[in-house]
Amino acid sequence: MPKRQSSNKKGKQSNFAKLSIFQPNKYKFKKSCPLSVKGAPEVNYKNIKLLKKYISENGKILPSRITNVSQKKQRELSLSIKRARNLALL
């Protein structure tokens, strides 16, 4: 349990950084799409751990200009996030 708490804190910090336009380099997402690389995890409404990276603290979907996700993957992401929301998983 203690590890969980610490990771939650980290998540909040980085989430906060995500939302500002002039974010420090530390918190920036990769320049290339992190989901199009070989061996990248499959975007799926059941994969909550992955989806949680791409929503803000308030549960909004982050824009791709911040996360640098490709257009194709962003469409998949938004669809699967909405499915997960319907099932009350997010």
Partner: protein, 117 residues
């Protein structure tokens, strides 16, 4: 024939025997309509991220179905009436992913992580 993933959420106060009845009931409906249940998964009692009909938790049951569209019609018709259920979701997929288990297994890995620390 299409492949479908079908998830239903039951109320938090349904007992395990009732859950079994529910799964049997819906698998029977599937079989009646020339469908085939490839796999059923019980994700267990999970926390809902928001209240649904004053329920904080829900029992998730996941079906992987092979069949025609009328199976889904029949299923959703019955589920919309069922008072034991909170939600349902059907997704058509091109391929079944039978190997990765997102629920249940996740808890194990978390436990392992905490055990390491």
């Amino acid at each position: 024939m299409n492949l479908y993933e079908h998830t239903i959420i039951a109320r938090q106060d349904t007992s395990p025997s009732e859950l079994k009845q529910l799964t049997e009931k819906y698998s029977k409906i599937i079989e009646k309509n020339d469908g085939e249940v490839v796999k059923t998964e019980n994700w267990g009692l999970l926390n809902l991220s928001y209240l649904i009909k004053k329920n904080k938790k829900g029992s998730y049951i996941h079906f992987k179905i092979k069949g025609n569209g009328n199976v889904v019609d029949e299923l959703e018709k019955n589920e919309a009436i069922d008072k034991k259920l909170l939600r349902y979701l059907t997704v058509r997929v091109k391929k079944f992913d039978l190997e990765t288990i997102y629920f249940g297994k996740k808890e194990d890995s978390e436990k392992k992580e905490s055990a390491k620390n």
